[in-house]
């Protein structure tokens, strides 16, 4: 952690800002900004523009398209990306399966999958959660039984984000039901979504949007070549995947952008003789959230500086925990600033988009403290993994 940026990093940041604000279409950024649902095309267009500029997967090994950036530069890249309202490179590709394959897959599998993964020629989705195993991932029931050169997969996954657009799914499956512990006997398989027996059912969320799905596997035959690494080692890969990303775990730049928007909007909403931004209680709430956000960002930088590649760090749990809380606080404040205009969910009047979308986006992001390891799970990781408090 340093105070301020070196001249070199200043310049790097300027380049990033320039690129994101001029090379990514304004209409996509505006949609992302107000929380409109992005189309498949919006996401793909952005990802490919980033990839063409070498900015989709900077954290990967250089040989597979990564950048030899410092931690600080990687941080600035992502911060500026979020500040500019650019949809991030598809996380399932860039942050999840890509790093897993680069670390654990055979050379053959790397060569086959990493280039199209980086380029979004394959759209990945994640098959981890199951209906009966929310935070308790290890109790998953989807089975893969070896049959000659194939696995036969049966079971159900849920909360599969953007599964409706996906070409492939990386799934955790149980390959050894007799393993002594539930975490053992789990493997990671790559499955084409067009395989016979794969069915996707949409789940509608609180804001009416369709972003998650259930995925059913009914005797789906998967080539044994599609096994990642070794059989029954899937739990290790999953832990690596979940603990891998420290920089992205707390959406600092995204929150900065939203908080700046809150201020800009509050300065436009009339109250009494002035605006909402003149209201001491509202201004204090904004200032307090800026203090919280500053503490979070400084902690991200501090933890990132201590990063030892690949090893999950329980300290990243505090980033996930506080990141989701502050994200939710800011979105709640946005609804408060919209006030009565937040009641106009549906189109048809002159209510500005940011106000109309404020309540649905707030409601949607209640997921932030549930998905990807709920805040209760994060606290347990801290209390047992860091504080040594084991029940």
């Amino acid at each position: 952690m340093e105070r301020g940026l070196s001249a070199q990093d200043q310049q790097f940041r300027q380049e990033m800002r320039e690129f994101f604000t001029t090379q990514i279409p304004q209409e996509i950024r505006a949609k992302a900004h107000t929380g409109e649902e992005l189309t498949k095309d919006d996401i793909a267009t952005t990802h490919r523009l980033l990839h063409a500029a070498g900015m989709a997967v900077p954290a990967w090994p250089v040989e597979w398209g990564g950048k030899d950036w410092s931690n600080r530069q990687r941080y600035l890249w992502f911060d500026e990306l979020q500040l500019a309202g650019v949809p991030a490179p598809l996380a399932f590709n860039a942050n999840m399966i890509g790093p897993v394959l680069a670390t654990f897959a055979s050379e053959e599998m790397k060569a086959r999958f990493l280039p199209p993964t980086a380029a979004l020629d394959i759209w990945w989705c994640q098959g981890f959660s199951e209906p009966e195993a929310g935070s308790d991932l290890a109790s998953l029931r989807t089975t893969a039984v070896r049959d000659g050169d194939e696995y036969v997969v049966n079971g159900q996954k849920t909360w599969t984000t953007l599964g409706q657009y996906a070409d492939w799914i990386f799934a955790l499956v149980r390959t050894d039901p007799a393993a002594p512990k539930p975490q053992q006997g789990i493997s990671m398989l790559l499955i084409e979504m067009t395989s016979p027996g794969v069915t996707v059912r949409p789940i509608q969320l609180i804001d009416g949007g369709h972003e998650v799905n259930e995925v059913f596997f009914d005797n789906v035959r998967v080539p044994a070549d599609n096994l990642v690494g070794e059989e029954n080692h899937g739990w290790d890969y999953a832990k690596f995947l979940l603990g891998n990303e420290r920089v992205g775990v707390a959406p600092v730049g995204w929150i900065k952008r939203k908080l700046a928007d809150v201020k800009a909007h509050a300065a436009q909403v009339a109250e009494g003789e002035g605006t909402l931004l003149d209201d001491p209680l509202l201004a204090a709430r904004i200032a307090e959230l800026e203090c919280d956000l500053a503490a979070l960002e400084l902690t991200v930088l501090r933890v990132a500086a201590n990063s030892h590649h690949g090893k999950p760090d329980p300290a990243s749990s505090i980033l996930k925990l506080r990141g989701s809380q502050i994200q939710q606080d800011v979105l709640e404040l946005m609804v408060d600033v919209a006030g009565p205009a937040s009641l106009a969910w549906e189109p048809g009047d002159d209510t500005p988009d940011w106000a109309r979308r404020s309540a649905p986006v707030y409601l949607n992001f209640r997921k932030a403290s549930i998905y990807g390891g709920s805040n209760e799970v994060q606290r347990s990781v801290i209390s047992s993994g860091i504080l040594g408090l084991k029940g």
Binding site: I206, E332, V335, A338, G339, P340, G348, D349, T351, I370
Partner: protein, 310 residues
Amino acid sequence: MFDAKLWRALAEMGTLGLPFPEEAGGMGAGPVEVMIVASELGRAGVRSPYAETMVAGTLLGDDALLGSLCDGSALVVPALTEPGRAWSPLPVGVVLSGGAASGVRAPVPYAAAADHVVTTARAGDSTAILAVDAPVSSTLDLAGKAIRVLAEDGEATVRRAINLGILALGAEALGAMDTALALTVDYLKTRKQFGVPLARFQTLTQRAADMYTSVELTRSVVYFAAMSLAADPDDEVAIARLKVSAGKAGRHVGQEAVQLHGGIGVTAEYAVSHLLARLTAIEHTYGDARYHLARLARRVGDYGALDLMA
């Protein structure tokens, strides 16, 4: 959005005219009965313009339209918010001058389903109450609209109408919280994780206890606000305290209900998400907790110890 069948049923039960005079087609009951009905609507998770109707009916005063409001033959909604402006009980940019009105109201709740709109306008130093036909969209531009002036100096009526509307909303919020808590408790009892029911996880049950505490405290405040309006329909302090307490509790109980449900809590397929959505909408209708807290804060120096029984 608007369920006409439900609305007819509510009309037939006499709930729409509950607090209005019998001679105008109402039931001649009062705020306590409004509270009871609204809390049941909230408990059932029914979304309806009930609070809006209480506001509109009060604003109508002795106008003939009140009869149609009471028997459900006309849906009359209030239009009290101005685009680009935070909540204000009195009009700012809507003006009545020389028999014509100007200014915009938006969003108008239930505009598509409504037959008539009651709104307010600045008329010199007074607040006029106007009736107009409902707009096709939820924006009501008054310029050039045919209006009927229901009252030329209606500020007291406006404040009374909002008081009653806030009571109905607060009661509805209470009912919604009751259901959110009940669903959560049921979920904790039945859902298993890590091989045991969620009710084994003390961190969850202690938070459920905090939810219960929030709900019970809100219940007391809602009851008291109803009795306060029954005694004095102009009691803005009891109503402001209701809005603050119900607003804080609604955020707490609604958010925790979703969180303790985990993933299914944010799906539209499960009721708890709709309860949070409704609690969020209630909080932002007729001024949020911050707005009402600031009003109360301006008065704290005017008296010493809190005295609810004065």
